[in-house]
C-alpha cells in the first residue's frame, strides 16, 4: 500500500490488481496470489503488504532448514508470534469517534496517499467518506455498510476530476423513452416496476384458431386493450415518473405521455434497488396490484442532463438516502479506472473504520513496534522455538524497510534509526515511522498517518497462516507431465505414475 510513494503512474499499484493479471504456474506462488485476494475480500486494503510480509516470513525461515530445525517447530513458533503481534497491535491502537469526519478523512488520506489520485488531495477522501456515511445503517446495534450494492460508481470521461461528487441520491445512464416527456420534475412521485408495459405472451403453449377476418382484428384490439388497462392502473396513482426494468411499448408510451408521465425503461435490477432505497418506493410487478405505499416521494428532484454526449438521469435531494451514486469525471478511461480502484480502496478503509473505529500508526510504525516487542518477548521463550520466533520478529521489519527502499533513501541508516527510536523506553516510541514523501523519520501522530487496526490485523493473520501452511509442505506430488516439471520449494517432486 504505502509502497510506491511516487505514485503508480503507469498502471496501478493496487497489489491485488497487479497479481490478478499475472499468470503463475507454480503452486506455491499461486497460493500467494490467493492471499491478496482474501485480503481484498475481507478488508479491501493492504493487499501489497500481505504478500511482502508472507514472502519475508518464508525467507527468514530458510536458514532454519539448513540448521535442521523441524518445520513443525518453526510453524508453531510463528503462530505464537502471531498471537503476540496481534496483542501488541491492539495495545497501541486508539479508538476514534465515528462522527468525527476529519479524523476519518485523515486515515483514508494516509491509506490512499500512495495512489495516483493523491494529486487531487482530499477529493477522493471526501468522496469516500460521504459515500460510506450515506450507506451506513445502524439497525439496533447491527452495523451494516454495503458498499457493493448501494454505493455505485459512475464514470463519465470528460470534464475535470474536480467535478466528481457524491450525489445525494442516485444517477444512471438512461433517458426518457419519448423526447416530449418532462426532463425536470420537482418533488416527483416515483413508481418502480419490474414488468414490461407491453403485451405479454402466456407461458403455456396457446394457439388461437381463427376462422373469420374479424377475429384477427379482435385479437389485435385485445392486445391493445390489455396495454391500455395496464396504463390505466398506473395512472390511477398519478405518478410523475415510471421506471421499469423491462420494455415499454409505443402504445403505452403514448398513453403515459398524455398523462404527462415520464417513463424510463430497461434499467438494471441493481439500479432499481438503489432507486427504491433513495426514494422509498417498492418495486412492483403487477400494475393492477399497486398501492399508495408503493409510490416513492422521498426524492425531491428529478432531472435528466446531457453529460458528455450522453443523457444521464439524476435523482437528487433525497431525504436520508440509504444509497448513493458517485460521479467520477476525468480525462480518459484509464485514468477513471485507476481512480475508481483507489476510490474502492478508500471506501473499504472508511467502512472498516466505521465498523471498527480503531487506528494504529502507519508508515511502518506499527510493524516496527511489533518487531521490537516480539524481540523482547523472544528472550522469555525457552528452547529451540526462540530462534524462529526471533526471525518472525525481524520479518516484520520488512515493511518499514521496503518503505524506505521505495522512497529512495538510505535504507540501512533509516531502518537502524527507526529501530533505535522504537527501542527507547519512552511513550512516543511506538509512533515513530517513516514519512514516505520526505524519506525521513517522523512521529506518525504529527503527520497524521493512521491505518485501521482491522486491516493490519488481517494482514498479520493472513501472512503468517499462509507462510505456515507452505512451510509444512515437504513433498510436492505433481500430475503435470514430466516435461513441465519444476523443482519444488521445500522438497523434490515425485513421480505420480507408480
Amino acid at each position: 500500500m504505502l509502497l510506491d510513494p511516487m505514485g503508480g503512474i503507469v498502471m496501478t499499484n493496487d497489489g491485488n490488481a497487479i497479481l490478478r493479471e499475472i499468470d503463475v504456474k507454480h503452486p506455491a506462488a499461486k497460493s500467494m496470489i490467493e492471499l491478496s485476494r482474501t485480503q481484498d475480500d475481507e478488508v479491501g486494503d493492504g493487499t501489497t503488504s500481505v504478500i511482502i510480509l508472507a514472502g519475508e516470513l518464508m525467507t527468514v525461515s530458510e536458514p532454519f532448514f539448513t540448521m535442521k530445525i523441524h518445520p513443525i517447530i518453526i510453524v508453531s513458533s510463528y503462530f505464537k508470534a502471531m498471537d503476540h503481534a496481534l496483542k501488541v497491535a491492539e495495545k497501541i491502537a486508539r479508538e476514534i469517534s465515528v462522527e468525527n469526519h476529519e479524523e476519518i478523512a485523515d486515515v483514508i488520506h494516509s491509506c490512499i496517499g500512495t495512489k495516483f489520485s493523491s494529486r487531487w488531495g482530499s477529493l477522493i477522501v471526501d468522496l469516500a467518506v460521504q459515500a460510506v456515511k450515506a450507506v451506513f445503517i445502524n439497525k439496533n446495534g447491527k452495523k451494516e455498510v454495503d458498499i457493493k450494492r448501494y454505493a455505485k460508481v459512475e464514470k463519465i470521461p470528460g470534464g475535470n476530476l474536480e467535478d466528481s461528487r457524491v450525489l445525494n441520491g442516485v444517477m444512471f445512464n438512461k433517458d426518457v423513452t419519448h423526447p416530449k416527456m418532462r426532463r425536470f420534475i420537482q418533488n416527483p412521485r416515483i413508481m418502480l416496476l419490474d414488468c414490461p408495459l407491453e403485451y405479454k405472451k402466456a407461458e403455456s403453449m396457446t394457439n388461437v384458431e381463427m376462422t373469420k377476418e374479424e377475429d384477427f382484428a379482435e385479437i389485435l384490439r385485445q392486445e391493445e386493450e390489455e396495454v391500455c388497462k395496464l396504463c390505466q392502473a398506473i395512472m390511477k396513482f398519478n405518478p410523475d415518473i415510471v421506471i421499469t426494468e423491462k420494455g415499454v411499448s409505443d402504445i403505452a408510451q403514448h398513453f403515459l405521455l398524455k398523462q404527462n408521465i415520464s417513463v424510463i425503461r430497461r434499467i438494471r435490477k441493481t439500479d432499481n434497488n438503489r432507486i427504491a432505497r433513495v426514494s422509498g418506493a417498492t418495486i412492483v410487478n403487477r400494475p393492477e396490484e399497486l398501492q399508495e405505499s408503493d409510490i416513492g416521494t422521498k426524492c425531491k428532484r428529478f432531472e435528466i442532463k446531457l453529460v458528455g454526449d450522453e443523457y444521464y438521469t439524476f435523482m437528487e435531494e433525497c431525504e436520508e438516502p440509504k444509497a448513493c451514486s458517485i460521479l467520477l469525471r476525468g480525462g480518459t478511461k484509464d485514468v477513471l479506472n485507476e481512480i475508481e480502484r483507489n476510490l474502492q480502496d478508500a471506501m473499504s478503509v472508511a467502512r472498516n473504520i466505521i465498523l471498527d473505529p480503531k487506528l494504529v500508526p502507519g508508515g511502518g510504525a506499527v510493524e516496527m513496534h511489533v518487531a521490537t516487542e516480539l524481540t523482547k518477548i523472544a528472550n522469555t521463550i525457552e528452547g529451540i522455538e526462540q530462534w524462529p520466533f526471533l526471525a518472525a520478529a525481524t520479518a516484520f521489519e520488512v515493511i518499514p524497510r521496503t518503505l524506505a527502499q521505495n522512497c529512495g533513501c538510505n535504507v540501512i541508516r533509516i531502518v537502524t534509526e527507526l529501530r533505535s527510536k522504537h527501542a527507547e523506553d519512552s511513550k512516543d516510541a511506538p509512533y515513530w515511522g517513516i514519512d514516505g514523501n520526505e524519506g525521513k523519520l517522523a512521529d506518525m501522530r504529527v503527520i497524521k498517518i493512521w491505518e485501521p487496526l482491522v486491516v493490519k490485523k488481517q494482514t498479520f493473520k493472513t501472512a503468517i497462516e499462509s507462510a505456515a501452511m507452505l512451510l509444512r509442505i515437504d513433498n510436492v506430488v505433481s500430475g503435470i507431465s514430466k516435461k513441465e516439471k519444476k523443482q519444488g520449494p521445500a522438497g523434490n517432486i515425485e513421480d505420480a505414475e507408480i
Partner: protein, 544 residues
C-alpha cells in the same frame, strides 16, 4: 507345456517383488505425514490445481496410481476414511510394512499360505489383547478425555497450533448433535454438522454455531434481514408463472380467453403464495426458482424468501424445525391447501455477512440438533485442508462418544502389541511362529516413523519403549502395570505416560485399522501371478 496368451505374464517371486515395491512406493509418499510432527503434501494435478493435505486418504486419492497392487492400498485408505474417518495414513504404512516382511519370509521358502495363517492369528490375538488390556473406558477419564482425543487427531494437522480452540469447538458440536437411538444408545449423526468455509480472517476466528446456516442471501433486498419467532415453510416446487406441461397445448377460439389464460397463470402462483403466507409462514425456503413478480408478495408480507436451496439442506431444515417439505400443495381431494401443520418454527432466522458472502442463519430450531461450523482461513487451499482435518476430528470424537473407549496413542499400543505377540509367537511350535513374530516386528513401524518424522533418535526411543512395555507385561507389580501406557513424547524426544499426557485415540479406529491393514496385506500376498492382456488388435480394414 505352457498356455500361450496374448499379453504379458509375471509370476512367482517376480510378481511378489514388484507388488511389494509398488506398495512401498505408495507408503513412502504418505510416511512423512504421520504424527504430530508430520508434514503436509502439495498435490498438483494435470490442470495445475493445487491440493495441500496431511490426510493420507486425500493424498492417495489425488494420486493417479496405476499399479494394481498400489491401487489396493489406495482403496484401503479410502475404506478406513469411510469407516473410521481417521488413521488413514497409519493403515497404509502398516500394510506396506507387513507386505515387505512377508515377502522376506517367502524368500526363506515359507509358503505364503502359512504366512497368511500366521498373520490372521496374530491379528485376532492383537485385537483381543487391545480389547482386554489396552483400551480404557472414557468414563474413568472424564470429559477431558474426549477433548484430548480430538486434540490428538488435530495435532498432526495444519491447525495443530490451534488444536485447543478447534478441539473444544468440535467436541461441543458433536455432543450437541447426539440423539437417543432406538436401541437406547446415543447416536451422533455427523451429517447434522454442517461445515461452511469462508475466506478471510484467520483460523482462530472459526466459530461454532448452534443452528443451521446456508450460504445464500435472501432473494430480494427489500426483505428484512432478521425475523424472530420464525415460522418456516419448505417448498419443493417452483414459484414461477404457472406453465403447462411440455406438449400440452391450449386451443383458443375466442381471443378474450387468451387473455384469461395469461391472467390465470399469474393468479395460480399468487394464490399459492397467499396460501403459504396466510398459514402464518414468514420464512420460505424453496428448492426451485421464485419468480421476480412473486417476490413482491413476500416483501410486502415482511417475510424472508430464499430460493434455490440445496435439496439436502432443505430436508435437514425441515426435519429440524418440524416443517414438511411440500412437493405440491395438492391434497387428497385435488384442492390446493397449505396446512399450518406443515410449518416449522425457529427462534430466529437472520442474514449475516461474513467476508464477502451472505449467510442465512437459522437458530433455535424446534428439534434442534443441527450444528454449524464456520471455518475461516487465509486462502482456499487452507480452508480445504482445515475442513478435512475438522472432518477427521469430528469422526474420531463421534467414535469415542459412541464406543466410549479409547487407547493410548503415540505408538504405545503398537509397541505393547509387538511385545505381546513376540512372546505369544514363542508359545507356538509351528511355522506360523515366524510369521507372527514378523507381524509383531512390523507393528513397530508406527513408533519408528513417528520418531523419524520428529527428527528424533528412533532406535534409542524404540528401545526405551520396548523396555517399559515388556516390564509391564512381565510383572505383576501395580506400578509397572502402568507402563503399558507409555508412549512417545515427540516434542522432547522422550518417553512418557501418554494416558496422563492426554494422547488418546478411539479404540475402534485402532482395531479397524489393524484389521484392514492385515486384510489388504493378505490379499496382495495371495497373488502369485499377474496376467496383463494386451488390448485386442484392431481388425484390419478391407483394403480395396
Amino acid at each position: 507345456m505352457s498356455v500361450s496368451i496374448l499379453g504379458s505374464r509375471e509370476s512367482g517371486q517376480n510378481i511378489r517383488d514388484t507388488n511389494v515395491r509398488a506398495v512401498q512406493a505408495v507408503a513412502n509418499i504418505v510416511k512423512s505425514s504421520l504424527g504430530p510432527n508430520g508434514l503436509d503434501k502439495m498435490l498438483v494435478d494435470e490442470i495445475g490445481d493445487v491440493v495441500i493435505s496431511n490426510d493420507g486418504a486425500t493424498i492417495l486419492r489425488s494420486l493417479e496410481v496405476q499399479h494394481p497392487a498400489a491401487k489396493v492400498l489406495v482403496e484401503l485408505s479410502r475404506l478406513q476414511d469411510q469407516e473410521v474417518g481417521d488413521g488413514t495414513t497409519s493403515v497404509v504404512i502398516v500394510a506396506a510394512e507387513l507386505l515387505k516382511r512377508a515377502n522376506d519370509l517367502v524368500k526363506y521358502k515359507i509358503h505364503p499360505t502359512t504366512i497368511i495363517a500366521g498373520f490372521r492369528l496374530a491379528m485376532k490375538e492383537s485385537i483381543q489383547y487391545i480389547k482386554d488390556y489396552l483400551s480404557v473406558k472414557t468414563e474413568s477419564l472424564g470429559k477431558d478425555a474426549i477433548l484430548n482425543v480430538a486434540k490428538t487427531s488435530l495435532n498432526s494437522k495444519l491447525i495443530g497450533a490451534e488444536s485447543d480452540h478447534f478441539a473444544s469447538m468440535i467436541v461441543n458440536c458433536v455432543e450437541a448433535v447426539g440423539v437417543m437411538g432406538a436401541s437406547k444408545e446415543m447416536k451422533y449423526p455427523i451429517k447434522s454438522i454442517k461445515v461452511l468455509k469462508c475466506i478471510g480472517q484467520s483460523a482462530k476466528e472459526s466459530v461454532h454455531l448452534n443452528g443451521f446456516a446456508l450460504m445464500t442471501g435472501r432473494t430480494a433486498q427489500g426483505m428484512p434481514t432478521s425475523i424472530k419467532n420464525a415460522r418456516i415453510a419448505c417448498l419443493d416446487f417452483n414459484l414461477n408463472k404457472f406453465k403447462l406441461q411440455m406438449g400440452a397445448q391450449v386451443l383458443v377460439n375466442d381471443a378474450k380467453n387468451l387473455e384469461k389464460i395469461r391472467l390465470r397463470e399469474l393468479e395460480i402462483t399468487k394464490e399459492r403464495i397467499e396460501k403459504v403466507l396466510k398459514a402464518g409462514a414468514n420464512v420460505i425456503f424453496a428448492t426451485k426458482a421464485i419468480d421476480d413478480f412473486a417476490l413482491k408478495y413476500f416483501v410486502e408480507a415482511g417475510a424472508i424468501a430464499v430460493r434455490r436451496v440445496d435439496k439436502k439442506d432443505i430436508r435437514k431444515i425441515a426435519k429440524q424445525c418440524g416443517a414438511e417439505v411440500l412437493i405440491t400443495l395438492m391434497n387428497n381431494e385435488g384442492e390446493e391447501v397449505f396446512n399450518e401443520s406443515s410449518l416449522g418454527s425457529a427462534e430466529e432466522v437472520s442474514e449475516e455477512r461474513l467476508g464477502d458472502n451472505d449467510f442465512i442463519f437459522i437458530k433455535g430450531m424446534k428439534h434442534s440438533s443441527s450444528q454449524t461450523l464456520i471455518l475461516r482461513g487465509a486462502n482456499e487451499f487452507m480452508l480445504d485442508e482445515i475442513e478435512r482435518s475438522v472432518h477427521d476430528a469430528i469422526c474420531v470424537v463421534k467414535r469415542v462418544l459412541e464406543s466410549k473407549s479409547v487407547v493410548v496413542g503415540g505408538g504405545a499400543v503398537e509397541t505393547a502389541l509387538s511385545i505381546y505377540l513376540d512372546s505369544f509367537a514363542r508359545t507356538l511350535g509351528s511355522k506360523e511362529q515366524l510369521a507372527i513374530s514378523e507381524f509383531a516386528e512390523s507393528l513397530l513401524v508406527i513408533p519408528k516413523t513417528l520418531a523419524i518424522n520428529a527428527a528424533q533418535d528412533a532406535c534409542d526411543l524404540l528401545a526405551k519403549l520396548k523396555m517399559y512395555h515388556s516390564a509391564s507385561q512381565n510383572s505383576s507389580d501395580e506400578k509397572k502395570q502402568e507402563y503399558k501406557y507409555v508412549g512417545l513424547d515427540l516434542a522432547n524426544g522422550k518417553v512418557r505416560n501418554n494416558l496422563k499426557a492426554g494422547v488418546l485415540e478411539p479404540t475402534i479406529s485402532k482395531i479397524k485399522s489393524l484389521k484392514f491393514a492385515t486384510e489388504a496385506a493378505i490379499s496382495i500376498l495371495r497373488i502369485d501371478d499377474l496376467i496383463e492382456l494386451a488390448p485386442k488388435p484392431e481388425k484390419e480394414r478391407d483394403g480395396h
